[in-house]
Amino acid sequence: MDLRYTADEIAFRDELRAFFRREIPAEIRRKVSEGRKLSREDIVTTQRVLHAHGLSVPNWPVEWGGKDWTPVQRYIFSEEIQAAAVPQPLSFNVNMVGPVIATFGNAAQKQRFLPPTANLDIWWAQGFSEPGAGSDLASLKTTARREGDEFVVNGQKTWTTLGQYADWIFCLVRTDPNARKKQEGISFLLIDMKTPGITVRPIITIDGGHEVNEVFFDEVKVPAENLVGELNKGWDYAKFLLSNERIGIARIGLTKERLARVKRLAQETPAGEGTVWDDPDFRRRLAWSEIELKALEITQMRVVAAQRTRAADKPDPSSSILKIKGSEIQQQATQLLMEVAGPYAMPRPDRDEDGANLPSVGPEWADAAAPLFFNYRKVSIYGGSNEIQRNIIAKAFLGL
């Protein structure tokens, strides 16, 4: 047992570190660091740079652009991309639909979709959640009935992240309403967002941002060739996809970068005779977050190391631990930042007639502090709420 990186691993890390800082525009990285909203272009630009260097889809099969990395190398990549505040390759493409197509799609689908998915020529959205379903994902109601060479889709999806940018959407749809169990009779369908009958309606969140959407399907005609894998087997593909989703869900590298930034800003922000950093109470809470994050980082390393030997179908509590603690510490970091802002966490600058922000009222970073805190309440809700994660641990691992 040795928790230190080998010389090779250090070289690999340093190379990535230099690459990210050299090749990804500083302005984009600054936005990530400050928790500001990224534009579609920011994300596309970044992914294409990564793709040009063969780094957009390292987790895919090598023949489709993946890398034959060790688990430790994958871990280092994931940590370094976050620590450098580089927008990660679009998860819907890279961690979700890509692996599903690569694993369960037919040859034509692979050929057609994988290259543009890797280069973000197609922007994918996820069509899983439905109103009223929440954590009970399998209770979905959107239907697809077969008519000749087409499926006709009707229903509604919600919480569709960045759906406003999407070219395509991968959906779970009910193809057999009479199946005995709700998990059966679900299929996995790829749908072009330009198809008539699709309406996207924005959901504005409490931070004032437009990140998620409702997507309505009204008699939407989808070619039958867009069915992935077998009819009525979509739930299996969804489970495969969701287990990939949890990779990196703890976002340790990003949080580490954020806590370092909180520390810097606390040292710069005046308070009394000195700065916020002089307040031992503040420093104590920051120290606790750092320490908990360190423990979680090692937990994540242990998970990575265990991936080599663990049976894929054995219940593993570690992704739930990463989700619970990772989300808690991410939330702590946003709250600490808001506290550094102090009274200047309050202003919410009006927008001008074009919708652009007016100049900041307080320090520029302070504007974003409260909205980020508000927005980050989501991380303990989405991806299976922390309550669901505790259920999973209790049932699957503790046998309760």
């Binding site: 969140t205 009274p343 309050m346 409260a370 508000f374 309440r377 809700i381």
Partner: protein, 374 residues
């Protein structure tokens, strides 16, 4: 010891509660109020004046009700329940709190009580954070008038206020307790620049820049007065937080009863039941602490008063923070949307935690004092 309201107090509570449920029962209306020119509803303000709420703390000779901390508590709790956007805290609690004690402005008091004039307190400075005595803005005498130079920030409802109460240093260094004067200023005076903006909780505030602005001195060496009124504001904010916590808790419990998942109302899940029970415990503890604040703000010893009010702000802040987060979590995604009420209560509770000092600031003051007063 008596927890019963007097008949007058009961009447007051009933009428404020009726006002809030009439005007804020439909949450959509709040959006419309915020869209008005001043960021709140002129009609609501007039109604509050007619109900006598705007003159509440004034003596009967001044045309008011002689309302004290208990009356303020009743009004502010109702304001919290409705997330009322009118500038009651700015004009009545802070503005009148200062003005009526500084003395010599009887006409202005009457105008405020009648609803014709609103006030704001421009005190906060950027370097000061939560320290009330940290004032860099200067005042120099020029004949009968005073001339102010400096910058004030996050003045609640300072963008629309008809008169500003401004603190400025007549003597001493930036962090000296002595030498802070309180001034009255017409924002139309040359040398005054205001930048108004919305706050994260949907209210309004302003940055105020003073460049040779002429003002009237209301009180010299006014820090003790400012600290007293800040403590009254803290008591008011505690009461407002209790009202908001109660509503948010009820909203959450209702949601747990109606939202179905896995084939049953999620309120049947015991882990969520226990979280909801903790929300009730938190609300009742916060209510008790708001009462303590109302009781102690009347105390004659400023040091004991300050410690007690810090204790109240710290505990209510901590409870409100946890309750707000739990409310969002128990709701799930729906509470993350701007359309739904819960998020707005959460945001207001978060900002109440920042106003007049956050939890860290106030618990530090209690620690420095060696604990609660007897």
């Amino acid at each position: 010891m008596d927890f019963d309201l007097t008949d007058e107090q009961r009447l007051l509570a009933d009428s404020v509660n009726r006002f809030v449920s009439d005007r804020y029962g439909d949450f959509e209306k709040r959006k419309a109020y915020r869209a008005e020119a001043k960021g709140y509803a002129a009609a609501n303000w007039s109604a509050m004046a007619e109900m006598g709420l705007l003159g509440l703390p004034l003596s009967e000779e001044q045309g008011g009700f002689g309302g004290g901390p208990v009356e303020a508590l009743l009004v502010m709790e109702a304001i919290g329940r409705g997330l009322v956007v009118e500038p009651y805290l700015a004009t009545v609690v802070l503005g009148l709190g200062l003005l009526r004690r500084a003395g010599g402005q009887e006409d202005l008091l009457a105008e405020v009580a009648a609803g014709g004039t609103t006030l704001a307190f421009a005190h906060q400075e950027r370097q000061a954070r939560h320290d009330l005595h940290d004032i860099a803005t200067t005042a120099r005498q020029d004949g009968d008038a005073w001339v102010l130079d400096g910058a004030k920030g996050v003045a609640l409802h300072g963008d629309s206020a008809d008169r500003l109460l401004v603190s400025a240093r007549t003597a001493g260094g930036r962090r000296d307790r002595a030498g802070i004067g309180l001034f009255l200023l017409d924002p139309a005076t040359p040398g005054v620049t205001r930048r108004g903006y919305a706050t994260q909780d949907g209210l309004r505030a302003a940055e105020v820049v003073l460049e040779g602005a002429r003002a009237t001195l209301l009180a010299a060496d006014a820090l003790p007065l400012i600290e007293l009124v800040a403590d009254e504001a803290i008591a008011a904010l505690c009461a407002e937080a209790v009202g908001a916590m109660e509503t948010l808790r009820d909203l959450t419990v209702d949601y747990l009863k109606t939202r179905q998942q896995f084939g049953r109302p999620i309120g049947e899940f015991q882990a969520l039941q226990h979280r909801a029970a903790d929300m009730l415990v938190a609300t009742e503890q916060a209510r008790s602490m708001a009462m303590y604040a109302a009781m102690m703000v009347q105390g004659s010893d400023p040091a004991a008063r300050a410690t007690a009010l810090s204790a109240a702000k710290a505990l209510v802040g901590r409870l409100a923070d946890q309750l707000g987060k739990d409310a969002i979590q128990l709701h799930g995604g729906i509470a993350m949307t701007e359309e739904y009420k819960a998020g707005h209560y959460f945001k207001r509770l978060t900002m109440l935690g920042v106003l007049f000092g956050d939890v860290d600031h106030h618990i530090r003051r209690v620690v420095a004092a060696g604990g609660l007063p007897d």
